[in-house]
């Protein structure tokens, strides 16, 4: 049974690699560096804008302004940057789907991405519910500060894993 289940994943990855889009990107000299650059700029903007909100939560920057105001001017851009990173990442993934899937650094990055998403979800749905009250209280509740610290650690680790992927994939 185990053999059969890994076979269907292998077939799916193989099918993905052979789609016209994947073949076109893999075959072009310029497509990959351009997509990689978009990915780097997107992740740079994602990391930076998330950092603006996280540093406010940790009480290390912009403490004279309420959290919700700092979040409002940074987090929407974080989401847009994340979408750009996800799209560019997917375009890269499809060109060598099977190899990325087997790559240890890629798998670690995927897990960390899920954890980062979960961290953000828990924060938005539970912790930040009474963010309005934070403006009156002087400091952010510990759950908010933990979420911010986790966020920074996770995203930096994700960048490191991303670089490791570059070093552990076979060159074209």
């Amino acid at each position: 049974m185990e053999q059969q289940s890994s076979d269907w994943i292998g077939e799916l990855l193989s099918w993905i690699e052979n789609t016209p889009l994947a073949v076109a990107i893999a075959g072009s000299d310029w497509a990959f560096p351009i997509i990689e650059t978009v990915h780097v700029i997107a992740l740079a903007l994602l990391l930076g804008t998330v950092c603006v909100a996280d540093l406010r939560l940790l009480g290390w920057a912009s403490t004279e302004r309420p959290y919700r105001e700092v979040a409002r001017e940074s987090l929407p851009w974080a989401w847009i940057a994340f979408a750009a990173a996800a799209i560019s990442g997917t375009l890269m993934f499809i060109t060598k789907a099977a190899e990325y899937y087997e790559n240890a650094a890629f798998r670690t990055k995927a897990v960390l991405l899920l954890l980062a998403g979960l961290n953000m979800l828990i924060f938005e749905l539970a912790t930040a519910r009474d963010a309005a009250n934070w403006d009156r209280a002087r400091s952010i509740p510990w759950a908010g500060r933990v979420a911010a610290a986790l966020s920074l650690l996770l995203w930096i680790s994700i960048v490191f894993c991303g670089r490791r992927i570059g070093f552990t994939m076979t060159p074209n």
Binding site: P33, I34, E36, T37, V40, I41, L43, A44, L45, L46, L47, G48, T49, C51, V52, S62, R65, E69, E73, S74, W77, I156, V159, F160, R163, R164, G166, F167
Partner: protein, 173 residues
């Protein structure tokens, strides 16, 4: 080969034999770590430029232009310092990769231009002209010029990132 190319090649060959260069290669996780710190510093610079531009384009208006600049310009300089340190270390680690590479040379040229823009911006904030104080109420032509400059500077940083990526692709034979 032109003489400056000869000098670069000689420098690259000398650097790759130094103890420091060889030591960096002993630790196979060091180059990806340096590159990661380099990318984090890129995030500092590009995001700070982005936040200032959002204000210049009046997409966000919660603070004055001067306050936004004072908030984010220090991050740009800090990021650039980290980029310089990690960049130089990466060059020492793999001198052949960078010094003799047209993509690297283009990147440095564009970087010099971008730093010039930051300096001009910072000087204009400190001067007596109060231009940025009244920027939100200036004539449409002036607002358009500011917008075009802001977007151009961001494109410039994107070009620097692209040139940086191309270093890996344009390895000398």
């Amino acid at each position: 080969m032109r003489s400056c190319e000869r000098i670069m090649l000689a420098l690259a060959q000398w650097l790759s034999g130094t103890p420091m260069s060889l030591a960096i290669h002993e630790l196979d996780w060091l180059v990806p770590l340096l590159q990661t710190v380099h990318i984090i510093a890129i995030a500092m610079v590009v995001s700070s430029v982005f936040m200032i531009e959002l204000r210049l384009l009046r997409v966000v208006k919660s603070q004055s232009i001067a306050d936004t600049a004072h908030r984010f310009v220090p991050w740009i300089w800090t990021g650039l310092a980290i980029l310089a340190v990690t960049g130089i270390t990466l060059i020492i680690a793999e001198p052949q990769r960078a010094l003799h590479n047209p993509a690297f040379q283009l990147k440095m040229l564009l970087l010099a231009l971008a730093i010039a823009f930051i300096c001009v911006f910072q000087i204009s904030l400190g001067g007596k002209s109060k231009f940025w104080f009244h920027a939100d109420q200036s004539r449409p032509a002036v607002k358009l010029l500011v917008a075009v400059l802001a977007i151009s500077v961001f494109m410039l940083w994107c070009a620097i990132a692209f040139a940086g990526r191309l270093i890996a692709y344009l390895q000398p034979g």
